[in-house]
Amino acid sequence: MQIERELLKGVLPMAVMRLLKRRSMYGYELVTEVSQRSDGVLSLGQSTLYPLLYNLEAQGLVESEWQASEGARDRKYYKLTDKGLQRLERDLSQWEALVRGMGQLVIGTSEGRVSVVLP
């Protein structure tokens, strides 16, 4: 399902930070993880990912580090900072409130809320 770009704008940083909360990841890994874990709904274009990561890094929400991995390939790993963690918690609580509100509005009951907490 193709999601409107404007709707995705605020969600993708949150999704990336949510993934990085679990562990450090490199760019390609993030692309595939976001796509798989959102059932392809949040398909992250490669051209979108790196600017997004650089923006998060500029805001001090994530930090990066080059690491050698199997086969001595270099990968740039991103990890969430403390500041990023605080922001993520704030964003998630806002997101939940939004989903709850939208659920009531669209389905008529807060029971219909959708969990956005990724496994």
């Binding site: 490199y26 790196y50 600017p51 890094e57 805001q59 086969g71 390939r73 990968r75 740039k76």
Partner: protein
């Protein structure tokens, strides 16, 4: 590496397929980032594509298909580069952001400033009033037959001025002195013109019409007659106020005619022809009085100087003849202009100055159609330069002294505010000039502009500062002129008293009412003119002068105030020294 074999980790050190390398090159180039940032982006994208190739070929796709999938999935390289650039720049150091911010602000400021300066400089005035015609209005009402200038003009063109005249002008010799022969040569060369000069002087009005074209013709004819090179006058700048470039070359000629007539008079007195001598001096006085009715302040001051020249010589003659003058001679004196003219005529006429101001305003400001407008600095610059030597301007002009920015600041003055302020300051100055010469508050007249500029934004009234004349000197000079006329009349009264009573009066009060209607007041003290009949070398009549102190008729020249104009301690009318 075959197209069907999986892309293995060991291949990571091999070059990426061209299609992907091209995408990376394209993105990296278009980011326009710093080299270190580009290297980082390139390494990350290479890493990204390698991971992709390994993953996709591992899933069974051929290398070609994987490359295609990765390239297609990457999106628009141009947009990616733009977004990467934005993200990377956001991550740059605070110092870089401050420096860039300042640089961009500076550049923006310079650009805006340049645009503003262009906007100011490129404006043009739209003058609507012919102020030269307005200045000429009163002159044109004078009947042709009553004008002295046309007669003077023809006589001046015939006047001989040889190389010796410079020396004569400087020394103004008395009979027997070294340069007297040269002086008499000059008088003789122009003797035939003297009746014409006297005829012009006896006309009721001056009658000079302000017209640069006619004046340029006069200059050309004069140069031709004297064998001098003709001065080429540049075409008038159509955007320069014509009132400010009015040519008045004849003022120097008038002064020469004055000197010539004084020397001719001296010669006639020397040969015993009192009537002819006095007539010559009276003519100098009359020519001066004509110039005093001119529309420009400079003409009025030259006129005042000529009247002073005549009066000084008259007082000297009467002092020398104080024991021998006859009733007939005193009768001749009594009918001459200094004895009969109204003292009210000795007042400055500032109307021309105001017309010049209004003319400048219409050439220096734009016209919004509602009587307002903004100042055009390039036009303002012309006003400051007009009629001045370039080097002098460099030294003196506020434009050069205080810098060009002053003109930008001055541009904040609008037309209406400028005119209002000028008239307000003019009024204040006139108020102060009504005060007696000895009133200390009168000095404020010369400081009106400085006081107005204090506390004002820089350049706000710069134009007014340039245009508002300091009238203190002109006003004081004309008041001195009144006093000189009163002194001459008092001297004639003293001589008439002596003729009738056989001795000099001991005090001036004795002259009233038979010989004088009232004792003249010293403009510098407010009390009677100083008179000493019993002085060792003859009677003395004087004013305390600009230093306001009685220095016993001392003519020593001193500065009336620190840095002020040099002036004699006392203004001594009798005994009058020779022409200075």
């Amino acid at each position: 590496m075959s197209d069907t074999a999986p892309y293995m980790p060991g291949d990571a050190f091999e070059a990426l397929p061209d299609a992907l390398s091209e995408v990376i090159r394209c993105v990296v180039r278009k980011t326009r980032l710093w080299p270190s940032e580009k290297r980082d982006v390139q390494a990350e994208l290479e890493s990204h594509f390698r991971e992709g190739l390994i993953e996709l070929t591992g899933q069974g796709m051929s290398v070609g298909e994987s490359v295609e999938a990765l390239r297609d999935g990457f999106g628009d390289p141009e947009l990616t580069a733009k977004l990467i650039r934005r993200g990377k720049k956001r991550g740059r150091s605070m110092l870089w952001k401050i420096v860039m911010g300042a640089a961009l602000t500076g550049l923006g400021g310079v650009g805006a400033g340049a645009a503003y300066v262009g906007y100011l400089w490129l404006a043009e005035p739209h003058p609507t009033v012919d102020y030269v015609a307005k200045i000429n209005e009163p002159v044109k009402q004078i009947a042709e037959a009553d004008r002295g200038w046309p007669i003077m003009r023809n006589a001046i063109l015939q006047m001989t001025v040889n190389s010796d005249v410079d020396q004569v002008r400087t020394t103004m010799p008395l009979p027997g002195e070294v340069t007297w022969p040269e002086a008499m040569t000059w008088v003789t060369q122009n003797q035939r013109l003297i009746p014409t000069f006297i005829e012009a002087a006896n006309k009721p009005a001056y009658g000079f019409i302000y017209d640069n074209k006619a004046t340029a013709e006069f200059l050309a004819q004069r140069a031709l007659a004297r064998g001098e090179p003709t001065t080429q006058h540049a075409e008038d700048d159509p955007l320069a106020p014509p009132t400010l470039s009015l040519l008045l070359p004849h003022l120097a000629d008038y002064r020469d005619v004055g000197r010539l007539l004084v020397l001719a008079g001296r010669n006639q007195f020397y040969h015993g022809d009192f009537a002819a001598g006095w007539t010559a001096l009276d003519a100098v006085h009359r020519l001066g009085a004509q110039l005093l009715t001119g529309q420009t302040l400079i003409e009025q001051l030259v006129g005042r100087a000529m009247m002073a020249m005549a009066g000084q010589e008259m007082r000297r003659i009467l002092y020398d003849m104080r024991d021998s003058v006859t009733p007939e001679q005193l009768a001749i004196v009594g009918t001459s202009q200094p004895m009969t003219m109204s003292l009210d005529g000795m007042k400055p006429n500032y109307e021309g100055e105001k017309l010049f101001f209004y003319d400048v305003i219409q050439y220096v400001f734009t016209d919004d159609g509602d009587g307002n407008g903004r100042l055009i600095p390039s036009q303002f610059e012309k006003i400051e330069w007009m009629g001045q030597d370039e080097q002098e301007v460099s030294k003196q002009s506020s434009f050069h002294r205080e810098g060009r920015y002053l003109h930008i600041a001055a541009a904040h003055a609008d037309r209406v505010t400028t005119v209002d302020k000028y008239l307000e300051l003019w009024g204040k100055m006139q108020e102060r000039l009504q005060l007696p010469l000895f009133d200390p508050r009168r000095a404020e007249a010369g400081q009106i502009m400085d006081a107005a500029l204090r506390g004002q934004p820089l350049g706000r009234f710069q134009l007014i500062k340039t245009l508002l004349p300091n009238l203190s000197y002109a006003d004081a000079s004309l008041r001195e002129g009144v006093m000189e006329l009163q002194a001459l009349r008092t001297i004639v009264a003293i001589l008439n008293f002596k003729q009738n009573r056989g001795s000099l009066p001991t005090r001036l009060g004795e002259l009233v009412p038979v010989f004088l209607t009232e004792v003249p007041t010293d403009a510098y003290s407010g009390s009677e003119l100083r008179y000493d009949a019993g002085a060792a070398h003859g009677p003395k009549l004087y004013s305390v002068g600009r230093n306001l102190a009685d220095d016993s008729a001392s003519t020593e020249v001193v500065e009336s105030s620190p840095g002020g104009r040099p002036t004699p301690r006392d203004l001594v009318f009798w005994p009058e020294d020779r022409l200075k």
